[in-house]
Amino acid sequence: MSGLMAVFWKELADHFNSRRFIILSLLVYLAGVATIYVAAQNIRSGVTEDTHFIFLRLFIVSGETLPFSFPFFLSLFIPIVGIALGFDAVNSERASGNLSRILSQPLYRDSVINGKFLAGLVTLSILVVSIVILVAGMGLRMIGVPPTAEEILRLFAFIFVSIIYGAFWMSLAVLFSVFFSRMATSVLASIALWIFLFLFMSMLAGVIAGAVVPIDENSSLELIVKNDEIYRTISRISPNTLYGETVQVLLMPELGNPSSTLMLVSIYTAGMIPTPLPLGQSLLIIWPQLTTLIALTALCFAGSYIKFMREEIRST
């Protein structure tokens, strides 16, 4: 246990001292502040008397100067932060000749990888919690509308999901750091996978859905729905989609369930009476997405754990 804590504190200190992390957090803070500023400027448009969740709108509105919302920026930056925290976890130790020295100390081998993972998770949590609190505080000052209890709960759920999302990318990067002996390889592999899942997965899903169920302007509603279902299923392979859907349900409760053919919703939203889902229902909807994210994280971590535990220290 003392070994685990020693590794944990050392890694935590390392993260907070590393230039890499400081630069990334500055970038994240900057993006967060900018999006909230733009959101606060534009929040008045589209707000009517029966708009619920005014405070949450702060997080989803975007303006012309910066056409991205806060969750979009998080979904972009959190993977990078996660990868930065994990990609050199094990292979840098091996390359620098620290690994055999550390493993000859009286601590269980899993303390090393657990301590590293835990330190990364705590670092990530501190970053996510601080950025959300920062922008929430800033938004509160700018629009002057205090959040309701439900909005606060939804923000907490949002923070939790964001941490899990980051933890997935971190454990993926740790997995690569165990399997690839060179840091350049592990960081490139992580980034390549991130780009693929972030940019190309939805394209690929669109192509496949179009090939399986071809649709055009005259297609029946049934076909359109079918096409949309296939598209949705395939794009859910990407954790990015899972995160996006979860965030949408949490922060835009009036949109309802994204699984129930969002396309139709978007067609009819204009004339729809806003009936936001209660928090319990929202959580129920995101449950599959959330458990999948957690399972993916656990899977990556288990992979790196097993590989690391079984690996032999070789003389060469």
């Binding site: 003392s2 050392k10 550390i102 100390q105 009286p106 601590l107 032999e312």
Partner: protein, 311 residues
């Protein structure tokens, strides 16, 4: 054996794929010894050390370090054993002191004790002036000395040094060897692997020679020397002005001489004991002039070469 074995292996074997790295190794190392593990690169020295530390699992055979089995009780072994790997690395962004304190923390040493001990050790290895500098600024020799402090901080009973002198300058080698010799004075058993013989010769009480995973021989340097030089126990080199067959014949007739080889004006005489006096007399009685005569000492090099020619 009068002393107690602190390291003992029976039939210790390690196979990587179809390559036998260590082959049925039987090793006994006594408490307080400085044991030199010699052999060319790839002989299995590091693999043996890794197995004794429990970092690598043996394929077959058993090992006991301080009475514990490294495979079954690795933590107990690691608590009493220090290890300085060949390519030792430290956290480059931390200072020398922070690196030592981290090792201490991993060993569960309380913070105050660790910081006091770390200071003392840095003093001892001559790094107290650069204690607050990042390790990235250190030379290889400095890192090696920091490594010795790193091994010492846990107060080990046994310390393994893997090629501690590789790649450092002669002055650095002396410093490192002196530090290791000092450790030995503090009743730490030391196992030292190297392929640089004369360096090891200075501090080792006993050596074992390893080639292709097999321990060819173990014993003190003198013992090995005598075994190594075939024919006799002592070799005397004599240089004379004109070696005649008659002279060689009369030397051969001296009691105790087992062989004489001649090349130009040099005579190599093998004998059971130091017969310099008798040989000098024979030479003086002959027509030849004695130019010089010396008793050959065995260096590890001779021993080494002899055993490696055989394998």
């Amino acid at each position: 054996m009068s002393q107690q074995s602190i390291i003992e292996t029976t039939g210790l074997t390690k196979v990587y794929g179809n390559k036998i790295a260590v082959d049925k190794l039987n090793l006994h190392i006594n408490e307080g010894e400085v044991f030199g593990f010699l052999g060319p690169n790839g002989a299995g020295k590091t693999t043996t050390i890794l197995m004794l530390l429990g970092l690598t699992e043996s394929t077959s055979g058993t090992a006991k370090v301080c009475g514990y089995s490294p495979t079954r009780e690795p933590l107990k072994v690691k608590r009493v054993v220090g290890y300085l790997p060949e390519k030792v690395g430290f956290y480059e962004d931390l200072t020398a002191r922070q690196n030592l304190e981290y090792t201490a923390a991993l060993n569960g040493i309380p913070r105050e004790a660790a910081s006091r001990k770390g200071g003392e050790l840095l003093d001892m290895v001559g790094l107290s002036e650069v204690a607050e500098q990042k390790v990235s600024t250190f030379s290889h020799g400095m890192k090696q000395r920091l490594g010795i402090a790193d091994v010492m901080i846990k107060d080990p009973k046994v310390a393994f040094f893997d090629e501690p002198t590789a790649g450092i300058d002669p002055e650095g080698i002396d410093q490192v060897l002196n530090l290791i010799a000092n450790m030995a004075k503090q009743k730490v058993t030391i196992v030292l692997s190297s392929h640089q013989l004369h360096q090891v010769q200075k501090i080792c009480t006993r050596v074992g020679i390893l080639a292709k995973g097999r321990l060819i021989v173990q014993g003190s340097i003198n013992e090995l020397g005598r075994e190594a030089i075939g024919g006799g126990k002592v070799r005397i080199e004599v240089q004379v002005s004109q070696p005649t067959p008659k002279l060689i014949e009369s030397i051969r007739n001296i009691k105790g001489v087992t062989g004489v080889e001649s090349s130009d004006d040099l005579l190599l005489i093998s004998c059971d004991e130091d017969l310099r006096r008798q040989i000098a007399k024979v030479v003086a009685d002959s027509d030849s002039l004695l130019i010089q005569m010396k008793l050959e000492e065995y260096g590890l090099d001779d021993i080494y070469m002899k055993y490696f020619r055989e394998t």
